[in-house]
């Protein structure tokens, strides 16, 4: 398999195979925090940070597990890494920006259950990316997540002012919107050409 270049990896993770809209990872926070642009941005940044930390730690731990031939412990180790990374981010955010900590509220610990992060760790392991590739991959994934979140937030904020049938308000509408966004993002398929 041709070794994909770093910009292509980034593009692939952010847009072509967007984690939310194409791979269906991170839907819960996607629906939950996309009501306001500011929340969306904060959540996106926090998630990206956790993603990068987890991704690099997962790379290291996976290397160790392979050396020790303990691959069957991979899942448990990865999830432990993610939980720890989230703890770290929580402490970091709490210390440096209590306002941000309050505004994110319950969503910060909930990043642990964000499938996108575990998915990221699992995919990068499956694709056998090296350290630099993993870094770029996680940055791309985080950017893509943030992009999807912000787009959704923008749309939903606009829709708040619109007159809508009451049955559709809430999750049904968000999902329809997400479907349209997903459809739009399908247009990026094939971008990057020969990258597998």
């Amino acid at each position: 398999m041709a070794n994909p270049s770093l910009p292509l990896i980034f593009l692939d993770a952010a847009v072509v195979n967007n984690f939310v809209l194409a791979l269906f990872l991170g839907i819960c926070p996607f629906l939950g925090t996309s009501a306001k642009k500011e929340t969306a941005l904060n959540m996106g940044l926090a998630t990206t940070f956790v993603m990068v930390v987890s991704s690099l730690s997962a790379y290291g731990v996976n290397w160790l597990l392979v050396e020790l031939e303990l691959e069957f412990l991979r899942l448990i180790c990865f999830i432990a890494i993610i939980a720890s990374a989230v703890q770290l981010v929580e402490m970091f955010v709490k210390k440096h920006s209590p306002a941000l900590f309050r505004s994110l509220g319950i969503f910060l610990p909930l990043i642990t259950t964000n499938c996108a992060i575990l998915g990221l760790a699992l995919f990068q392991t499956a694709k056998e990316y090296d350290f630099l590739q993993s870094l770029v991959y996680s940055l791309g994934a985080g950017t893509g997540f943030m992009l999807a979140l912000m787009l959704m937030a923008g749309l939903r904020e606009k829709l708040e002012l619109a007159r809508l049938p009451t049955v559709s308000q809430g999750a049904a509408l968000s999902l329809m919107l997400a479907g349209l966004l997903s459809l739009a993002f399908m247009g990026f398929a094939g971008l990057g050409g020969s990258h597998g």
Binding site: I79, C115, G119, L175, G179, S182
Partner: protein, 231 residues
């Protein structure tokens, strides 16, 4: 959505560690409809959209999740008095990850095709909010048998939701159900249904349907209450 169970909620909050539930049919049935994890609580969304591009995938995923729900719930319930509060989340996660790993191997051994279709999403059951949530809210406080029953109910409710999505998507997007062709050659499959956007659309449509039914029921209740008041 559940105004009637508010007193129960408040009571539960009052003495969170002593209120152990008696086993009733409701323990099981709740998970199927009233507290359906997907349609009502909107939890565990990722697999719902990702693996429902065919009915068999949906069923497989649902049953796998049910297995993990029951297994991890059972272990958490058995160990509930010994798990210290401070490390409970970490403990639950390790227990859940264990069962997910087991079910991963099991599916791989049972059917290579199913394993290939479900792919990474089997391992992603670990971060399915339903399971962690149930462990925290229920299994850690209830005895073994109610936990098992409730887990079964929730798991089946989840499977039901997955199946309703998977079957619609497969029928419309492929013209088949469980691989059996339903329509004649002239049927042009609605391709988007088995692609990612289709997942969003179909789930949105189901939620729309339920919201509409609920609204209709509420209007009827109001209308009959109004009639009773006047009459």
């Amino acid at each position: 959505m559940a105004e009637a169970s508010q007193p129960a909620v408040v009571a539960k909050a009052a003495d969170p560690f002593n209120r152990e539930e008696t086993l009733t049919a409701d323990t099981f049935l709740r998970g199927l409809w009233q507290e359906n994890p997907v349609f009502v609580m909107l939890l565990g969304m990722c697999p719902v959209l990702a693996v429902t591009n065919s009915a068999i995938n949906a069923l497989g995923m649902g049953l796998a999740t049910t297995f993990v729900l029951i297994g991890s719930g059972a272990l958490v319930s058995l160990l509930r008095r010994w798990i210290p509060k401070q490390v409970r989340i970490a403990s639950y996660i390790v227990i859940i990850a264990t069962f997910v790993t087991v079910v991963d191997y099991a599916i791989h051994a049972i059917s290579l095709e199913l394993y290939a279709s479900l792919g990474a999403f089997i391992q992603l059951i670990v971060v399915n909010c339903i399971i962690l949530g149930r462990a925290e809210a229920y299994a850690s406080k209830q005895r073994l048998v109610p936990t098992l029953v409730n887990g079964l109910g929730m798991g089946l409710g989840f499977t039901l939701a997955l199946f309703s999505l998977g079957s619609v998507r497969e029928i419309l997007g492929n013209g088949t159900l469980f691989g059996v062709t339903l329509f004649g050659d002239s049927f042009q499959p609605w391709l988007v249904m088995i692609l990612p956007p289709g997942g969003f659309f179909v789930l949105g449509a189901w939620l729309l349907l339920f919201a509409w039914l609920k609204q209709r029921r509420e209007r009827r209740v109001l209308a009959s209450a109004g009639a009773a008041a006047h009459g």
